[in-house]
């Protein structure tokens, strides 16, 4: 596990009220693989709440991902849905949990607010 990943999981409970505003509820197990080793993370989600733990018990959904890929997701350098469509990560179970969880991933480093960018160029603003 990378430092970014560790930090990412540590912040989930505090971020949950802002991020998990939809109706998703259940446990997502995340299997992070590096070589022959796999770490199992469990994220129990309900509206406004995320509890993070580790353990191999089955969840309502499981997401398989490499340690390296998860590090890129946790730092905004990859996009979760695209990784499943190219089968770089794979998923089974209740997809609503995956869609809810991906909302924790940040924007890419250096991303600017599009309004700021547009207003630099436009001639008409109020």
């Amino acid at each position: 596990m990378t430092e970014a990943t560790q930090q990412f999981f540590a912040t989930l409970p505090a971020r949950a009220p802002e991020v998990l505003r939809g109706p998703a509820m259940g446990t997502l197990r995340i299997d992070l693989t590096e070589g022959h080793r796999t770490e199992h993370w469990l994220v129990r989600m309900r509206p406004g709440v995320a509890e993070v733990g580790q353990g191999a018990e089955p969840g309502d959904a499981t997401w398989y991902c490499s340690v390296d890929l998860f590090d890129r997701l946790a730092t905004g350098r990859a996009q979760a849905i695209a990784t499943t469509f190219r089968n770089e990560s794979t998923f089974r179970g209740d997809v609503v949990l995956f869609l809810a969880f991906r909302r924790f991933f940040p924007s890419a480093p250096g991303t600017r607010d599009p309004r700021e960018v547009a207003r630099e160029h436009a001639r008409w603003t109020r």
Binding site: I81, A82, F85, R86, N87, V95, R102, T111, A122, R126
Partner: protein, 683 residues
């Protein structure tokens, strides 16, 4: 494209020529497609080395076709001792029963050959061919051929099986056969497509509806879908035909999403067999009075995929509703941005509008509560990221110049947004209908906040903002000397002054000042915009007008259905009726199936509506058009727990009767009749 024959089941579809053959094509998506990947690019039948010639085709059903063929070219004198029937169906997989009939009194020998190949092209690679980055293999087996494609972990496979003994090579199967006098020979070819996902399993095998259904199951499910819809009785055959055709096409266009395991509506064959925010919302609005059960999965899916971060490649922002979702290789490897792509400035407001409209019909307050956070995020987007310039309007400008859309409104081709003289405006742009949708979304958001979210303060705020927007809009967009609303504002805030069909959407949104509605309507049904078959996207005296320009002169049935709804909202029933009549008259020339668009030529000039060359058909929001027109003619509007029925049936259409309209009132019937008539005149 009339010579092509298509069958579909959800987003799996096959496009072939009239012989049933598929040849590699670089410009039109022929072949077998599923989830945006071409699983068969060659499928070609030869008898003794010769191509066949079509006698007739039975394509009365959307998921199966039968081809009756004889060997030889059409120029030959026909004295066939042998004929061939290809009977095929799509039911998740493709199956084709191939029968060769010997009509002579002697035993005959033939070499039957089926050429087979799969290029695994992504739908985006058809028009814009690049070398595939992965590897193809072909593995002949016993009466079977396995074709695979791999690029890193991305893995697609086509497996073809024959029930009759076959000599299999890497390019197809050969059947040396002998048929007795007046006898026949048959094989069944099954084509399985596999999308590998977790643990090497087919992604679709994990879906609740399962990828593969029998044709009988499809037929039963379609029949049930149609049986649930209200029954139409009418004197007007074009209306009856269009209604029937629409229900069939809507049944066939539903597909099961890999991501959510729910049935969604694909937008259109062949280019748009996937989820579009705008198309699915407009189709939902059109079909809501008829089949409300289609709406919750669409709303839930759009909410689940709502934007949550700023992503320039995908034009994504928090709260934004997606434009387009694709499952193919170019999406997965991020050569295209559709995972999902968010380049639409209208779908976010439309999402709120649909949620409210759905509740008004069905009384399903639970869904409005469940999607509260999404609806609020959508409303917030309108005033934050949507208002790029901070001027109180919704603007767009792509941040993904290589692959993003320049125009992020329904007229999304590059030249669709233009000044009257043909010049193109600067970016960002704020098209007029976006402001109308934002206005309507705020009012509907206010209604939901008051009735379902227990937040009257928010409701008041939204209503105040809506009123301010309406005032501002009527000041900044109205062109006093031309007496219509500008198509857009350019980045200077100057009006983009082309006369377009967009002003009809403004009526639908209710943002038009009462005092101006009649003038707007006169433009819509006046000679510059109205062709006789419908309202043109762009008036015929404008700089860029072209009767076969995709968004600059063609007539779009979906557009017309929204315009008719708008005219009705302002009580302009006669004008609305004129559009209903012209659309239904046009539908006759397409056997009841309105295409995506047809040419803007004057009705007197061509006598029939000329189909746009590469129009998609069936297209969901064109199939939804006759349904919305019915609502407009019968004047169906929910009010509280009741359905108001206030018909205005255009002259000459006679009786229109719609039975069992579902909604919060249970089921009710509506009846309308043209006013002018004595005995009804069948068309």
């Amino acid at each position: 494209m009339k010579e092509l024959v298509s069958i579909l089941d959800g987003n799996t579809f096959l496009v072939s020529d009239r012989r049933g053959d598929v040849e590699p094509s670089l410009d039109f998506p022929t072949g077998l497609f599923s989830f945006d990947t071409r699983f068969l690019s060659t499928w070609l039948l030869l008898i003794d080395g010769e191509r066949l010639h079509a006698l007739s085709i039975d394509d009365s059903e959307s998921h199966k076709t039968r081809y009756f063929l004889v060997p030889g070219e059409p120029t030959h004198f026909l004295d066939a001792k042998v004929s061939v029937i290809r009977s095929r169906a799509i039911s998740g997989d493709l199956s084709e029963e191939l029968t060769v009939l010997n009509h002579s009194g002697q035993e005959m020998s033939f070499t039957v050959r089926m050429e087979m190949a799969a290029d695994f092209a992504d739908i985006f690679e058809i028009k814009d061919t690049k070398r595939k980055k992965g590897h193809n293999t072909a593995a002949p087996g016993e009466d079977s051929l396995r074709l695979t494609y791999r690029r890193d972990a991305f893995h697609r496979e086509t497996t073809i099986h024959s029930t009759a003994a076959a000599q299999v090579d890497r390019r197809g199967m050969t059947f040396p056969i002998r048929i007795g006098p007046h006898g026949e020979w048959t094989t069944r070819l099954t084509v399985n497509t596999v999308i590998y996902g977790a643990r090497g399993q087919d992604v679709r095998s994990l879906l609740p509806f399962a990828g593969s259904r029998t044709t009988a199951a499809i037929e039963a499910e379609h029949a049930e879908f149609i049986a649930r819809a209200p029954k139409l009785g009418c004197d007007c055959e074009p209306l009856a035909g269009a209604y029937r055709r629409s229900l069939n096409d809507l049944a066939a266009l539903r597909y099961e999403s890999i991501a959510l395991g729910v049935r969604l509506m694909a937008a259109g064959l062949p280019w748009f067999m996937t989820l579009f925010g705008r198309d699915s919302i407009f189709t939902s609005l059109q079909v809501l009075p008829f089949m409300p059960e289609l709406i919750p999965p669409t709303l839930t899916m759009l909410a689940g995929l709502q934007g949550h971060r700023v992503d320039d490649f995908r034009d994504e922002e928090p709260g934004k509703i997606l434009h387009e979702l694709r499952y193919g290789e170019t999406a997965g490897f991020e050569e295209q941005p559709h995972t999902p792509y968010y380049g639409a400035a209208d779908s976010t407001a439309l999402f709120v509008i649909l949620l409210d409209e759905y509740e008004r019909w069905t009384g399903d307050g639970a869904l409005v509560k469940r999607l509260e956070a999404s609806a609020r995020a959508a409303l917030t987007w309108i005033d934050t990221y949507g208002d790029l310039l901070g001027t109180g309007y919704v603007w767009y400008q792509t941040r993904s110049p290589q692959v993003g859309l320049e125009n992020q409104c329904w007229k999304d081709s590059w030249d669709a947004i233009c000044y009257s003289d043909g010049r193109l405006p600067s970016f960002p742009r704020a098209t007029c209908e976006l402001q109308g949708y934002a206005y309507d979304a705020k009012l509907r958001g206010a209604r939901m906040a008051r009735l379902h979210w227990n937040d009257p303060i928010y409701a008041d705020r939204l209503e105040r903002e809506a009123a301010e927007l309406k005032e501002r809009f009527n000041r900044d967009f109205w062109l006093p000397d031309k007496e219509y609303y500008a198509l857009a504002l350019d980045s200077d805030g100057s009006p983009v002054d082309a006369l377009t069909s967009n002003i009809g959407h403004l009526l639908w949104s209710g943002i038009v000042d009462e005092s101006r509605a009649r003038r707007v309507a006169e433009h819509l049904v006046g000679p510059r915009l109205f062709s006789g078959w419908g309202v043109r996207t762009l008036a015929d005296d404008q700089g860029r007008y072209n009767p076969i320009g995709y968004h600059v002169g063609t007539v779009w049935p979906f557009d017309n259905s929204i315009i008719a709804w708008g005219l009705w909202k302002y009580g302009l029933r006669e004008e609305a009726g004129k559009i209903c009549e012209s659309m239904l008259a046009a539908s006759r020339y397409f056997a009841g199936r309105l295409p995506e668009a047809f040419a803007g030529y004057e009705r007197d000039l061509t006598d029939y509506p000329v189909e746009y060359p590469t129009a998609c058909s069936p297209q969901a929001w064109s199939a939804g058009t006759p349904l919305l027109l019915l609502r407009v003619m019968l004047g169906l509007e929910p009010q509280g727990e009741h359905l108001i029925i206030d018909p205005y049936v255009p002259p000459g259409m006679g009786r229109v009767e719609l039975l069992d309209i579902p909604g919060r009132w249970g089921r009710v019937d509506a009846l309308g009749r043209s006013r002018d008539e004595g005995p009804s005149r069948p068309d």
